[in-house]
């Protein structure tokens, strides 16, 4: 008898054949008879009062069913937000618009072309007003972003977390005192972490179908959080959640932009109820830029105080984060995620303050990493500047200041958060050894001798993920706004069917993460039911247990752990039944190869199909055992998990054109135990691409009037395969003690680790010329300009 564990093994993704062969169904592939199409009239102004909306010409067009304005939907209230600080978005503009692309009216027509033409025929009269687009201008409150705001500064996140303002001021005073010491250097730099557009390859799409007989909705949406959307629709229409079924079918990427309930989702449902027909809307790429959420957008100054021999005395980050015009799901909470990791891997007094500032631009919210890439970027850039300033190797400076391994588990970060497990020095040393860092430096020297501008960047990161309800609910992160009294729980249902196969149902909302594969591995490992016989279902709120969706690298640690536990309980019950059938003792039952075996007697076994068939015939069960073979576990982790790692990049800069080429990119990540190495690698690959995209290419550029200049993919260059190096990946393994599988999370690590690694490398390449910092994205023009400026 063999016990072959598929946990930790490479198993090919179950999802891929359908995705590759085009047989998977996205929202736009699902067709309902008689469906109508919505299109939006959107504001061309970043700030204007609306003096009139005339839909008569549109309504007169053939095939137009309705044109809705705020007067039709005002009663439903504004769009729900988890942390309702700042202006909430009205479902349609209510007398004024606050960003370009804001929806003013919705047209519903027989087909998409007619709907779009009719939207163009709606005449809206605007009285333009001054828009506030840049952060510093907005923070000055010279002009309000929205008349309803008392200040454009909506709130601020200060740390150490959990301290009273006067205690925080004390920490700050301590660091300031350090600056006056004569054995220290003070390195300070204002840096921009630019706004980004998430660019999911499948744009957002929604189809809603109201059933008057049942007074209920079916909604298909390309969303990362089907249950939250169902809760929001139910809440806004005053229905019980059982009256709303949301299905997230295949979802073609999300990266956080589908982690929101949007006004279009609510409006399409409204129109379906009003018109008695299914109504759909699919976003255009322009709309994806102007009316879906964006991410990042910070301007902040990092200051580091340290001795000349590499001991950090204090670190400060102070700045502004762009919220856009309206607060949606998390919006103002995103910088808080940055605060969690604001002190990175280091033990050093840290003062942190980020103000959340509104602007007349699209809303910002979670984009892969969400607050954490920003926080780590500032920290790791300034540490690099410090290392250069004191002439120490950047690896050595980091080594000297890590939170020691001995403080784990449950080390308290300088910003006041309990971190589960970590061993930063071992991880960085592994990176340096595995890739021969000394060899890289020798190669760099040789290249420099040939006149080539080769640079090496190193950066370390911590991430926080697998969020736990403990603590968060009190801060307003409760999902209760969406009618979900669940905080950040995870859930899993494991059901062994009468034929011995298993069905696993989870409350996540994957958009490419491979849950069907990973969860089948978890359950197969627990039950010994072959991988092929396990089917994982998700995304349909009518059948899946309550869950908050897929985001924040949380699914494996939280919902995965729930499923693990559910499988363990099913195994316990199955062991009872098997013991009964085999006339053996329960403790001797082991599961493998699709059957229960008695330890020590190889001939004695019973296949899962037999166990299951008995389970579904209660009269054959041992006394006191209930029928069925199914468990539903709702799980609350005691804490979040804290993955970490260090990355190395080698770049070459063409000083004449400013072009940056990444010669090598090497990772040493630590996400705890690994369920499927191939899926983990895939997550890192994608994450790195997005981090490198931020470092080199991507930027949401607004002009002074608030127009998005980079709203099409011509001007928003996401990286292509030709721009990216062949990644070199390796891992250390520091399991978490928070959950039974010891897994942390890997969805965002690549993104959190990459941008500063690349920028550090470019600056390293150009430092002999005197370049100290270049704001991202490091497009050729900017790099060249920085070289010119440094040369004087």
């Amino acid at each position: 008898m063999s016990t072959t564990s598929v946990l930790g093994g490479i198993v090919r993704r179950r999802e891929d054949p359908a995705l590759i062969q085009g047989t998977g169904a996205y929202v736009d592939d699902i067709k309902l008879p008689g469906e109508l199409h919505a299109a939006f009239v959107r504001s061309p102004f970043a700030r204007a009062d609306i003096t009139s909306v005339d839909a008569s010409a549109a309504l007169a067009m053939d095939g137009v069913r309705a044109v809705y304005t705020i007067d039709d939907v005002r009663d439903l209230g504004p769009l729900l937000a988890q942390v309702p600080v700042g202006a909430l978005r009205p479902l349609l503009a209510d007398g004024a618009v606050h960003h370009v692309g804001e929806a003013v009216a919705m047209v519903v027509a027989d087909d998409r072309y007619v709907a779009q033409d009719a939207a163009d025929a709606v005449v809206v009269e605007y009285e333009p007003r001054e828009a506030v687009v840049t952060l510093k201008d907005s923070a000055s409150d010279r002009v309000k972003v929205n008349d309803s705001l008392e200040s454009n500064v909506l709130m601020s996140w200060a740390g150490p977390f959990g301290m009273e303002p006067d205690q925080i001021a004390e920490v700050k005073a301590g660091i300031d005192a350090g600056k006056a010491r004569d054995d220290v250097v003070v390195v300070s730099q204002e840096m921009t972490n630019q706004r980004l557009i998430p660019v999911a390859i499948e744009p957002r799409a929604v189809l809603a179908d109201y059933n008057a007989g049942y007074n209920s909705f079916n909604v298909w949406s390309s969303t990362q959080m089907p249950h939250a959307l169902a809760g929001a629709v139910a809440t806004m229409f005053g229905l019980p959640t059982t009256s709303v079924r949301v299905v997230a079918p295949e979802v073609g990427g999300g990266f956080g932009c589908k982690l929101n309930v949007y006004n279009d989702e609510i409006l399409v449902a409204f129109a379906s109820r009003h018109l008695g027909a299914p109504v759909r809307w699919t976003e255009s790429r322009r709309e994806a830029g102007n009316s879906t959420i964006q991410g990042r957008g910070w301007v902040a100054t990092a200051t580091l105080v340290g001795t000349r021999d590499g001991e950090i005395v204090g670190y400060e980050l102070e700045g502004l984060a762009d919220m856009g015009a309206y607060s949606q799901n998390f919006t103002v909470a995103i910088p808080f995620l940055g605060l969690f990791v604001g002190s990175g891997q280091y033990k050093m007094p840290t003062y942190w303050k980020i103000d959340c500032v509104a602007t007349n631009t699209a809303t910002t919210d979670a984009y892969r990493g969400a607050g954490r890439p920003e926080a780590i970027y500032y920290l790791e850039r300034i540490i690099d500047m410090y290392a250069r300033e004191i002439g120490l190797d950047p690896a050595e400076v980091r080594m000297k200041n890590f939170v020691p391994a001995a403080e784990f588990p449950a080390a308290t970060s300088p910003l006041g958060f309990a971190m589960d497990t970590g061993d930063y020095a071992t991880n960085l040393q592994a990176l340096l050894d595995h890739y021969d860092y000394a060899g890289w430096r020798a190669e760099q020297e040789a290249a420099r001798a040939e006149g080539r501008n080769v640079g090496i960047g190193l950066a370390s990161y911590v991430e926080v993920c697998g969020f736990a309800p403990a603590g968060l609910a009190d801060l307003g992160f409760s999902w209760s706004a969406y009618g979900l009294p669940t905080a950040f729980n995870g859930s899993g249902v494991v059901r062994v069917n009468p034929d011995g196969t298993a069905t696993v149902v989870i409350g996540t909302g994957p958009s490419g993460q491979g849950h069907q594969t990973t969860w089948a591995q978890i359950v197969s490992d627990q039950l010994g039911i072959p991988f092929e016989n396990i089917r994982v279902r998700h995304g349909d709120t009518a059948e899946s247990p309550m869950g908050v969706g897929t985001f924040g690298s949380r699914s494996a640690a939280v919902d995965g752990s729930a499923t693990y536990e559910a499988a363990a309980r099913v195994r316990e019950k199955a062991a009872k039944i098997a013991a009964h059938l085999l006339e053996a003792s329960e403790e001797d039952i082991v599961f493998a190869d699709g059957a229960a075996h008695v330890a020590g007697s190889p001939d004695s076994s019973v296949p899962w199909a037999d166990i299951a068939s008995v389970a579904y015939q209660p009269h054959k069960l041992p006394e006191g055992t209930e029928g069925g073979l199914e468990t539903h576990v709702v799980y609350s982790p005691a804490n979040a998990t804290w993955p970490f790692g260090s990355h190395l990049a080698m770049v070459e800069v063409d000083a004449d054109t400013g072009n940056v080429e990444i010669l090598r990119y090497a990772c040493m990540d630590d996400c705890g135990n690994v369920i499927n190495p191939m899926i983990v690698d895939g997550q890192i690959h994608g994450g790195l691409a997005q981090g490198i995209g931020q470092a080199l290419f991507e930027e949401a550029i607004y002009d002074e009037a608030g127009n998005l200049l980079s709203g099409s993919l011509v001007d928003y260059p996401i990286p292509t395969a030709g721009d990216l190096p062949a990644y070199e990946l390796a891992r250390t393994t520091t399991p978490t003690d928070i959950n039974a599988m010891g897994v942390k999370g890997i969805g965002e690590a690549g993104t959190i680790g990459a941008a500063q690694t690349v920028v550090n490398a470019v600056v390293d390449a150009l430092s002999p010329m005197g370049v100290r910092h270049i704001d991202m994205p490091l497009r050729p023009r900017k790099v060249w300009q920085a070289i010119q400026d440094a040369r004087g």
Binding site: D120, D656, T657, G658, N659, L696, F697, I701, D703, L709, S710, V714, D715, P717, P719, T720, G722, D723, P777, R779, P780, R781, W784, Q785
Partner: protein, 267 residues
């Protein structure tokens, strides 16, 4: 919207004559983008894909309907180089040289090649027959050509005397699928003279005549001459500043590109 699908040049020209306001459709990779953005709202479209007379490439005559994918695999080095930089494989399968000329964008990557060669554009109409215009007679401004409303581009006509060395390169924000910030094509001719053409740095593609003169018939320009040439190019171009790049960067990059390409073409 009505779509006409002629299969012969005569039928295409007749349709063009009958529908002077019609939009010509080749691969559609420029036209459909404009339609999507409502920059054009065609009432009539004449689709040219089936017109066999403009689809071929024989020797010096490249039919308007020849795609980038074909040119990418063709014998002309710089033309193949630049074709490989256009869009993605899908775009190169659809997009044509005729469409590139028809759009006449300052960033059209095929145009520096034609300019460096002093190529001619052959056009025809039902009423007036065929005429040929030199590239600089044809490309008259930003997205403006000398094409008359009844005419169709038939082919690009390359000269009899072809270069002994030719190189193309472009600078953009990433390696593929990108609009040129600067593009350049450099050629060394059998009589040892040089040709230099640049895109994206003026309202139309331009020749860097001053730099060509400086190079004279120097077979292998080096050192200070190369530097002078780069400076001359930087001075001759007339770029703008926009959200994609600054004037200063475009000037500088023009000089750098030309200097490198001259180096690669040198004997």
């Amino acid at each position: 919207m009505e779509i006409v699908r002629p299969t012969t040049l005569d039928d295409a020209l007749a349709a063009r004559d009958a529908l002077p306001g019609a939009d010509l459709l080749a691969g559609g990779t420029d036209l459909m983008v404009e339609v999507n953005f409502h920059h054009r709202e065609p009432e009539h479209v004449i689709a040219l894909r089936r017109v066999s007379e403009i689809a071929g490439w024989e020797g010096r005559r490249i039919g308007a309907g020849v795609t980038w994918t074909r040119m990418e695999k063709g014998p002309l080095r710089a033309l193949a180089q630049l074709s490989r930089t256009v869009g993605s494989p899908q775009i190169r399968n659809a997009g044509t040289i005729g469409g590139n000329i028809g759009t006449a964008s300052p960033a059209g990557d095929g145009l520096p090649y034609l300019a460096a060669l002093d190529a001619e554009i052959e056009v025809a109409s039902a009423g007036r027959g065929v005429r040929r215009l030199r590239w600089d007679e044809f490309l008259v401004g930003v997205k403006q050509t000398a094409l008359r409303p009844d005419e169709i581009i038939i082919a690009a006509i390359l000269p009899e005397v072809m270069p002994v060395a030719e190189e193309f390169a472009k600078v953009g924000v990433r390696n593929a699928m990108v609009i040129s910030t600067v593009s350049a094509c450099v050629m060394r001719m059998p009589d040892s003279t040089w040709r230099i053409a640049l895109g994206s740095v003026a309202p139309t593609v331009i020749r860097a005549r001053r730099a060509e003169e400086l190079l004279g018939t120097t077979a292998a320009p080096r050192g200070s001459l190369l530097a002078e040439v780069a400076d001359a190019v930087a001075a001759e171009v007339r770029p703008i500043t926009d959200h994609r790049a600054t004037e200063a960067y475009r000037r500088h990059a023009s000089g750098v590109l030309v200097r490198r390409l001259v180096g690669r073409c040198a004997a």
